[in-house]
Structure formats: structure tokens, C-alpha cells
């Protein structure tokens, strides 16, 4: 490794703290193509998040995760604990989607859709409206305490707190019906857990988006760390075009850069000022970069003012930089083996999950044979008793009819018409009788067929064994 040329002078050492106080970052406001996209995603995700719990479906909240009764309601779908596999599938889909997007476009999720980015964006907008632009904020922080400073800071934290509490309230509204929650809030009758989670989520939102900001991405977030491992030489990343930009330096608009021996970078520092993580993209790709493309928007505006072509900082790939590839080649390489494999696995899983959800039966049955010896009646026929745990996953009460197959003459001598209330379970004892000699001594395979009387498509077959004493 090269060492700093200064090192040879220095044999002195001083003691310093291993830990440093965070240097506050004051991102400059900007507009542009990518900034607009980020705001589109802010609106999109937050309308869904804040609006979701207020929707109604079947006289209930459309999206509700009822932990107390262990049922998840998602519009027309009611998921039971037995459907937990779908949560695993959802996580697998999310993970694969992250792999795919990251392999194609770097930290796209971080830059545009991550809640940390989204809420930071909202909080920074509030900050800007109240305290003013970047330079005004820096000045305000430097000046001594005054009535104006207290007012501005107080107002900012008040608005932040309100947004954060509303976020916490909304979050809890996914678990406790939000209309009820709102009523409880009005009457100051919130339960202890509800209060805790509203405050906890509120505090987390306020702390992360208001205070921690880029430090969450730099020091806490695991995805930020391992997304770098998904990059390859054809991944689109935010890149400063060194060959075009260097040597950098200020110049007049009138001169051609080549005449004064300069590159296109005028060293205005906009790209550093807009960066939410406070890095200088011109030093190359760094782990702090969340791929938000703020520097691209900032630099493009400057290039426009200078009448230089845009894209001194742009989304491009390592290959494109080293081999001077054009746009077409970059796009061609987006469809490389790696991304195609990700895409096909992702597609297969999504299709499988969708099919499975579409074919999902709103009825589940478990058959448990009673322990103990089967009863032999006076005429030699054999009875076995089963307990059928029936779960009606539909939101209306249903009547089911049970039949038994597998042994000639096997009949159900108990009640075979079973009513199960809406979205509930019921354990039903069922007595099956097999005439004398119809089945072999020992264990015989039988099948229970359970069918909805109103809806022929709801039909479940469950295996069981029928014991005949030897």
C-alpha cells in the first residue's frame, strides 16, 4: 500500500478517541428525474401504508393481522396459522426480488423504496420547510440559542413527532382494528401494549428518520452490507466519469475545457452537498453510497448550465467504463445469466404461490383416531371412532357432509352433517361402522371425504386407518 507522503516527516503520535462524534450532514434540496421518481415512490408506498388500515371489506377491516385470534385478513383472503408457509414464501420472494434488482441496478431498493430513505425524505422536507435551505440550516445550527432558534427547532420536532406518532398509530392499526383504536385514542382508553407499540414505533420513526438517518445505512443495516456482494461488473451503479471529468477545476462558461487543460468537472461541490450520506462520489464507489442518484440530478443541472453534455455522473457499469460500452451494450448485458436465473426462479416461485393461493381450499380437516380398542357390536360389525378437527376458513357459516370410502359397506353412524360457524374450528366425533368380515383384521386404509353442501368445489379428502381386532 502507498503511504501518505507526510508519513516520512512524522514520527510523532497523539492519543485520540477511537470513537468520533457524528458530523451532521446537511443535504441540499434538489429536483430532477431521479428525485421525482423517489417522490413518486414515497407517495406510492405511504398512500398504501397510511391508507391501508382504513379500507373495509366484508364489514371488517380489509387488511388486519389479528394476532389474538391468529387470523390474517387480507381483503378476501383469510390466512390461518396453517397458512404460515405463505409468509415464508413472501420473504423468499422479497429476498429474490432484492437480489434481482440489486444485480441489475445496484442499491435501487435503498435509494428509492426503503422505509429509511422514504421517511428520511419526508422528514427532510419538513426540516427544509421550517428551517430553510442547506445554508440556512447550517447557520441556524451555528448560531447561539435564541427565541427564533427555539421556535424553529421546536416546531420542527413537533411536526416530526406528529408524523412519527401517526406512523406508530397506523402500524398498530394493522393489528388492532384502526377505527376501534381511534376511538380508544379519543377516550384515552388505549391498552398498555397498544400504547407501548404506538410509542415504540413512533420513537423508532422519529429517531431513525430525524436523527440517525445515514448512520442506519452505514452502521446498522445488514442489507446495505451484503448488497455489495451482489454487484458484478455489469451492475448499474452511480458512477463519476473520471476520464471525462478530470482534471477538475473552475473555469468560465466561455472557455472550452480542453483549451485550458481541464475536464468537464467544474468542482462546484454540488454532488457532495446533495449527498444524503455525505460522501464524494468522485472518489469512486463507496460502501456508504445508497444509490439514490441525487448527485446525478445535481450534476446534470450544472452540466446544463455549463452547456456541457449531461451524464458526467450517471448510472453505468464497471464494464462500460473500462471497455467504453454504449447504452445498447449496457442494456444487453442487463440480461445476463445471473439476472435471468434470478428472474426465472422468482417467476417460478411467484407463479407457484399464486396458483397455490388460487387453489387453496377454505376448509381444513385433521383426522385423529381415538385410541383404545375398536368396539365389536353384537352382530360382529366393528366401530372405530375418529375425531375430525374441522376448520372453516370462510367468513360465513357452512354445513359440511362427511362420507367415508375405502372399505365396502363402511358407513358413518353418527351425525354426518356438520355445521361449522364462520371462521372457526370444531372438533367432531365421527363413528364409522364396518360390517362383519368386510375388512381384514388389523389396519385398513380408509378415506374421509368432507364436502361443503353449498359449494361442490370445496372438497377435502383425508386419509385414516380403520382397525379391526384380530
Amino acid at each position: 500500500m502507498e503511504t501518505s507522503p507526510l508519513k516520512q516527516y512524522s514520527q510523532q503520535e497523539i492519543e485520540q478517541s477511537l470513537y468520533e462524534v457524528r458530523k451532521k450532514i446537511y443535504p441540499r434540496a434538489l429536483t430532477g428525474w431521479f428525485a421525482t421518481w423517489r417522490w413518486v415512490l414515497v407517495w406510492f408506498t405511504q398512500i398504501i401504508f397510511y391508507g391501508g388500515p382504513w379500507l373495509t371489506w366484508n364489514d371488517r377491516q380489509a387488511v388486519l393481522f389479528d394476532l389474538a385470534s391468529r387470523k390474517f385478513y387480507i381483503f378476501g383472503l383469510v390466512l390461518w396459522p396453517q397458512d404460515f408457509i405463505y409468509l415464508a414464501v413472501l420473504l423468499v420472494i422479497s429476498a429474490l426480488a432484492l437480489f434481482l434488482f440489486t444485480a441489475v441496478g445496484g442499491r435501487l431498493f435503498c435509494g428509492y423504496a426503503c422505509p429509511q430513505t422514504v421517511y428520511t425524505e419526508i422528514f427532510m422536507w419538513v426540516e427544509r420547510k421550517i428551517e430553510g435551505e442547506r445554508s440556512a440550516r447550517i447557520r441556524l445550527d451555528r448560531e447561539p440559542l435564541s427565541a427564533r432558534k427555539v421556535t424553529l427547532k421546536g416546531a420542527k420536532h413537533l411536526v416530526w413527532g406528529a408524523i412519527a406518532l401517526w406512523t406508530g398509530f397506523t402500524f398498530v392499526g394493522y393489528f388492532t382494528p384502526i377505527h376501534l383504536l381511534a376511538q380508544e385514542l379519543m377516550q384515552f382508553a388505549l391498552g398498555p401494549w397498544e400504547t407501548f407499540w404506538i410509542l415504540f414505533y413512533g420513537f423508532a420513526t422519529y429517531g431513525n428518520a430525524g436523527w440517525m438517518r445515514e448512520q442506519v445505512c452505514k452502521y446498522m443495516c445488514p442489507y446495505a452490507r451484503f448488497q455489495s456482494a451482489m454487484f458484478d461488473k455489469d451492475t448499474l451503479t452511480v458512477t463519476y466519469d473520471v476520464t471525462r471529468g478530470e482534471p477538475r477545476g473552475p473555469r468560465s462558461k466561455q472557455v472550452k475545457p480542453a483549451e485550458v487543460g481541464l475536464g468537464d468537472c467544474i468542482d462546484c461541490g454540488i454532488c457532495v452537498q446533495v449527498c444524503p450520506t455525505g460522501i464524494d462520489i468522485r472518489e469512486g464507489l463507496q460502501y456508504e453510497c445508497i444509490g439514490c442518484a441525487a448527485c446525478i440530478d445535481g450534476c446534470d443541472q450544472v452540466m446544463e448550465k455549463m452547456n456541457y453534455p449531461k451524464g458526467l455522473i450517471r448510472y453505468t457499469t464497471e464494464h462500460a467504463m473500462t471497455n467504453q460500452l454504449g447504452k445498447r451494450d449496457i442494456w444487453r448485458r442487463v440480461f445476463r445469466t445471473r439476472t435471468l436465473v434470478y428472474f426465472s426462479i422468482l417467476g417460478a416461485i411467484v407463479l407457484t404461490a399464486a396458483t397455490s393461493l388460487a387453489l387453496r381450499q377454505p376448509l381444513k380437516v385433521d383426522v385423529i383416531r381415538d385410541r383404545g380398542m375398536p368396539r365389536v357390536t353384537d352382530d360382529g360389525s366393528v366401530d372405530n371412532v375418529y375425531r375430525l378437527q374441522m376448520m372453516n376458513a370462510e367468513e360465513n357459516p357452512n354445513r359440511y357432509v362427511i362420507t367415508v370410502q375405502g372399505i365396502d359397506g363402511a358407513t358413518i353412524i353418527s351425525d354426518s352433517q356438520i355445521d361449522v360457524a364462520a371462521a372457526s374450528t370444531r372438533a367432531v366425533p365421527v363413528r364409522v361402522r364396518v360390517p362383519s368380515g368386510a375388512a381384514q383384521p388389523g389396519s385398513n386404509r380408509i378415506k374421509f371425504i368432507i364436502q361443503d353442501t353449498d359449494n361442490a368445489s370445496v372438497k377435502i379428502t383425508e386419509k385414516a386407518v380403520f382397525l379391526v381386532p384380530r
Binding site: 510523532q12 457524528r22 393489528f175 407501548f196
Partner: protein, 333 residues
């Protein structure tokens, strides 16, 4: 505190725990300073790398850690000490909050009692016949029965060999609601001694068995039955002279075709030769009085079907009844 057989161990554990926490704090504090080289101007030099190089050009900078991170580390130590003061964890120390697993269990049971107690109390105050007609009570009763009784009497309460059928009108001890309640609460101990000696030899046993079978019109050898009738006197003490049994003793009725241990000559002879012993455990210590009351109503209702309502849902929850409860966000005890 019975966790330690000697107080010394408790102290030993406490010392190790505290020393560990202290050592973590000291390590953190002692390593919080680092020597940096300064340039000729007295300012620290730019950040150096750790000297590791990967893939030809990938290096690791030796950047300082964030201050808040080390503060959080100290806070975890404070939290740890606070926890050990408040909760049990330091040797045999109980913690100032007095929390214990048993206490937690009792608290949970109390909360459950407060939540469900009124429902059971309501039914306990009602006569058994009235409870048996209440759909909600029967639904609760059914679940209680499946949990506590179905192991022996079967899921459909029809019993099996040695375990009485509870759905018919044939009772060993009588089918009055109070009797059923007494059976569940106090248990039953049915005993028939071996009667082989009392009736005579093997031939006599076979004859008596045939006579017993004749009482209910089951298939039997009429000649042997006539011979056995004279020996039935030994049995009449409990089963009464006409064989109708005696509910005060729990002696079965021999004139019907309900057989606790199965009918047929071999089963009856086995009963005479070896006797029968049968025990239903008392549930007064296992189930609360209110639950016993509810179960008695359920069992009594099984054989008094004129009040039965067809197709009761086992769930007394209304369609979305659970949604009007006080749900909590991620956890609800």
C-alpha cells in the same frame, strides 16, 4: 431458594457474573483511545488503511467508530446491572421486583380466571338440566369433554370395553343429574370379587354364566341355564334376585344387552372367575367445581336428547366476535 445446595455456589455465580460485566466495561473503556500519527502541522494524518488488500485494489480503511455506538455499549452494561437488581439472575438473589416463574404462572391463571370465571359462574348457578339446554354451555362442555373425558369414554362418549357408554339410558349408578355430578366429582370404584368359589366348580361357573345370558335373551344353553339358576343366589346379593342390578352399589343390570366388558359366554365366565375391578378417578382436584358442573350437564344432556339442538357450532364466537376484543399489537397475554 433451593437452586443451590450451598450458599457458596450462589456467591460464586454472582461474583463471576459481576466480574464479567465489569470486565466488559473495563475492556471497552481501556480500548477507547487510539494512537494516531500527526503530521508536521500537528494535525492527525489522513485515515490509514489496515493494510489488507483484496482483489488487487480493495482496501479497508481504518475509520473511527461512531461515538453513539460506544455509548450504546455502555448502556447495555447499565441495563444488565439494572436487570440483575430488578429480576432474579444474580446467584440466589430474588430481585427487588419479586418476579418469579411461579408468580407469573399464578398471575396468568388469575387473569384467565377473571376472564372466563364469570361464564362458568353463570352456569354453576343454573340447575344442571337448564345448563344442558344452553347451546353455549354444551359447546364448552364438548370441548371440556374432549380434553378430560374422551381418553376413556371416547370422543363420542360411547365408551369401549371397560368404559361405560354415556350416551345411552343405561346407568350403573343412576342417571340423575346429581348422580352424574357425583360420579365426575368423586369418581367411582366398581368392584366385583371373584365368585368362582361362591358358585362352586368350573361347571357351576359355566351354568351360572348361561343363566345370566338367558336373563337378557342372549344366546345361551337353556339346560345349563336352568342348572345355573340355583347358583345365582350368590350373585343376587349385588345384582338382586331378578338380575336387574343395584344402582346404589353400581352393580350392573344383567337383564339388558348392555355389556360393560362385552357379552357372550367367555366374557361372562371371565367376570365370574376373576371378578372385575374398575376405577374412574375423582376429578374434584383436577377440574374446578364449575367445570365439573358444566361437564355433568353436558354428559347428562348426551342421554337426554329431547332437549338437544341439532348442529351446535363448537365455536361460540360470532363471525367476527374476536375482532371486537381488545387486541394488542404484537403480543397479547
Amino acid at each position: 431458594m433451593a437452586d443451590f445446595f450451598h450458599n457458596g455456589w450462589s456467591i460464586f455465580i454472582a461474583v463471576v457474573t459481576l466480574a464479567g460485566i465489569l470486565a466488559c466495561g473495563l475492556l471497552l473503556w481501556s480500548q477507547s483511545k487510539v494512537k494516531v500519527k500527526v503530521g508536521p502541522d500537528g494535525n492527525p494524518l489522513p485515515v490509514e488503511t489496515t493494510g489488507h488488500v483484496w482483489d488487487g485494489d480493495l482496501v479497508e480503511n481504518n475509520n473511527p467508530l461512531p461515538r453513539w455506538w460506544s455509548i450504546m455499549f455502555y448502556l447495555t452494561i447499565v441495563f444488565g446491572i439494572a436487570y440483575l437488581v430488578l429480576f432474579p439472575g444474580l446467584g440466589a438473589m430474588q430481585g427487588t421486583l419479586g418476579w418469579s416463574q411461579v408468580g407469573k404462572y399464578e398471575q396468568e391463571m388469575k387473569a384467565g380466571e377473571e376472564q372466563y370465571g364469570p361464564i362458568f359462574a353463570k352456569y354453576q348457578a343454573m340447575p344442571i338440566q337448564a345448563v344442558a339446554q344452553d347451546p353455549q354451555a354444551r359447546a364448552i362442555g364438548e370441548r371440556l369433554f374432549l380434553n378430560s373425558c374422551a381418553q376413556c369414554h371416547g370422543s363420542d362418549a360411547q365408551g369401549s370395553k371397560g368404559f361405560p357408554n354415556l350416551t345411552d339410558n343405561d346407568w350403573l349408578y343412576g342417571g340423575a343429574p346429581e348422580t352424574v355430578l357425583a360420579s365426575i366429582r368423586e369418581g367411582r370404584h366398581g368392584q366385583m370379587p371373584s365368585m368362582a368359589a361362591a358358585v362352586g366348580g368350573d361347571a357351576d361357573v359355566r351354568n351360572v354364566a348361561n343363566y345370566v345370558l338367558s336373563l337378557s335373551g342372549s344366546s345361551h344353553d337353556p339346560i345349563k341355564a336352568v342348572m345355573g339358576k340355583t347358583k345365582f343366589g350368590a350373585c343376587a346379593a349385588c345384582h338382586s334376585a331378578d338380575g336387574k342390578g343395584n344402582q346404589a352399589l353400581g352393580a350392573p343390570n344383567l337383564t339388558d344387552k348392555t355389556w360393560l366388558y362385552g357379552g357372550g359366554i367367555n366374557n361372562v365366565m371371565e367376570a365370574i372367575n376373576k371378578g372385575r375391578g374398575n376405577q374412574m378417578p375423582a376429578h374434584k382436584g383436577i377440574l374446578s367445581e364449575a367445570k365439573v358442573h358444566l361437564l355433568a350437564a353436558y354428559v347428562w344432556g348426551l342421554s337426554n336428547k329431547q332437549n338437544a339442538v341439532a348442529g351446535i357450532s363448537a365455536s361460540d364466537a360470532k363471525t367476527m366476535g374476536s375482532l371486537t376484543g381488545t387486541g394488542a399489537a404484537p403480543a397479547k397475554q
